[in-house]
Amino acid sequence: MLTRRFSFDKLKRWVWSFVRFVLIAGLSFVILYPILQKISTAIKHKSDLYSPIVVWIPENFTFDNIRDAMSIMNYWETLFNTFMLSGMTTILTAASCALAGYAFARLRFKGSNILFFGVILTILVPPTTILIPVYMNLREFSLGGLIPLLTGNTVNLLDSYWPFILTSITANSLKAGLYIFIFTQFFRGVPKAIEEAAYIDGAGVGSTFFRIMLPNAFPAIVTVVLFSFVWQWNDSFYTTTYLTSSHVMSTQLSSLPYNLEMFLDGGDAASSDPFYLSMVQDTGILLAILPLIILYLFVQRYFVQSIERTGVVG
């Protein structure tokens, strides 16, 4: 009797782990499918596209697509620019959001609740709503009438990195409200006794923050840095509006179809076949996300760990 019950339990567990394996493997495949597909497309020769026997592994192996996509996208320069832009906004955003988050969590003053409501508002209002006035503001940037007083003219900040620098230094860049929220939640969870101990040992508010709270906030910083970097890298909404001629990954990607046609028509008109265009475009997408995937392989273990410790979840 006992043994039968035991084996029934064992069977149940075995069936469950089988079902789980099938589910997870299947869904993993669904997620990986587009990437695998792009890799396979990137190394295919054009003739393989129509060959019915080629599905995944190409018959005629070639680097032509990758070479074409790289030269059209101006790849290395673009990669460098994107790294600079994302890295810069990430560092500035993390710094300014950490300051604001700490202030909202611990250094409370009259009206800071109202201001925190403002943070929530920045999360809720879609960026589309305020984009046009911000755009006009940046095109004729006057800093509230200060710059025209000095130089007599407004400054056009579009098509430079200044919009990104200014918005991230003031914690109003892409999804910055969310980062402030994360920091606030985190600092709220740190025991007050730590601060009091620091105060008794003679630390002022500033040095308490910089020497004690900030090093302790490592998980929150990791989370914010990861998300901010990735989202800035992929963002097409702000980059395509603010930057028109600079080469960063997402502007290059969105103008890739057009550039590609120019490139191919200039060379050989016969080869401008829509399937080939799409092939090079897929290769371009792969090239654009490849650096992120490589980075991801190194930092992915921090993802769950840090979110868990940020206190967003409880």
């Binding site: 599905v55 700490y102 209002v125 879609p126 006009m136 989202w231 799409s278 967003v312």
Partner: protein, 304 residues
């Protein structure tokens, strides 16, 4: 004089120092909030009620009342259709995404061989499914060819959802429910790719539940199924709310309405109409958020 000294004294105290530093720390954000958020928000509201003409001296803003709103809702052929479509899509997708991501988070929390690999695969959409990549992917022809090849090769692929539908209909399941479920199956990639962050948040939440609770319930004879409904679900219910809000905001940012608003503003240079559309859009998000938050928050369980 006395009052000044009082203020001076209070600023020298620890609490006074805190207030000073607090103001200092908040000031960059506040500055940006005013310049890059609040003033633009008001300007956009003003634009939405006016006609804007660009001239050599700058912009001529004339107040025209509700005409932009009327044009957006009644005259423009695309706006109201796209708005209603994307609202429907959200109402349909959000429950699916929430249930799916909670389910996956529970799965990924269990011990099994290759768990860390599975986790890193499931968080990949956080990186991949955003912004421009998604838009370009939709029009990829290579993908289409391959899909056709796959369909020709393996009939099972196409038949899967169809068979399921027939079985469920025979079993007497409601028509509407069947369509909802089979629709979900065929859109599985969309759902998976939108639930990266949600899985992450749920997983982190599940991991903060203390194992003692599960141990105690196991001693009392609870099965894993019961433990899920009686322990895991109530404990993560605050996160359901968080994820709900995140999902709604996220799915609005990828809806075609955003594109329409942008093209009205920047290609047709009709700033007034574009702002009016953006405000209608914002208000409808707020409505959906308010209704769903109200419905969910009554069920949320807090420990305190």
């Amino acid at each position: 004089m006395n009052a000044v000294r009082k203020v001076k004294m209070s600023l020298q105290s620890y609490d006074g120092q805190k207030v000073l530093w607090g103001l200092l720390f908040v000031s960059p954000w506040l500055f940006g909030f005013i310049f890059f958020f609040f003033v633009p928000l008001l300007t956009s509201l003003q634009y939405s009620f006016s006609t804007i003409e660009a001239s050599s001296e700058g912009l001529n803003v004339t107040f025209t009342g509700l005409s932009n709103y009327i044009e957006a809702l009644a005259v423009n052929p695309n706006f109201n259709r796209q708005l209603v479509e994307s609202l429907f899509e959200i109402v349909i997708d959000v429950p699916l995404i929430l249930i799916f991501s909670l389910f996956i988070a529970v799965l990924l929390n269990q011990e099994f061989f290759g768990r860390s690999v599975a986790r890193s695969i499931f968080f990949l959409p956080v990186i991949l499914a955003s912004g421009v990549i998604l838009g370009l992917e939709a029009e990829s022809l290579v993908q289409e060819i391959n899909q056709q090849n796959a369909n020709a090769g393996g009939l099972a692929n196409a038949l899967g959802a169809f068979e399921l539908e027939r079985i469920m209909l025979r079993a007497g399941v409601n028509d509407y429910v069947v369509n909802y479920l089979t629709g979900a199956v065929s859109r599985i990639y969309d759902i998976v790719s939108q639930s990266g962050v949600q899985i992450l948040i749920f997983l982190a939440g599940i991991q903060t539940i203390s194992p003692q609770i599960y141990e105690a319930s196991k001693m009392e004879g609870a099965t894993g199924y019961e433990a899920f409904w009686k322990i895991t679900l109530p404990m993560v219910s605050p996160l359901i709310l968080v994820n709900l809000i995140y999902t709604i905001i996220d799915s609005f940012s990828r809806s075609p309405v955003t594109e329409l608003i942008m093209s009205t503003g920047f290609d047709n240079l009709n700033f007034g109409l574009s702002s009016a559309m953006a405000w209608v859009y914002f208000i409808s998000i707020m409505l959906i958020l308010a209704i769903s938050t109200y419905l969910i928050s009554k069920k949320v369980f807090y420990q305190e």
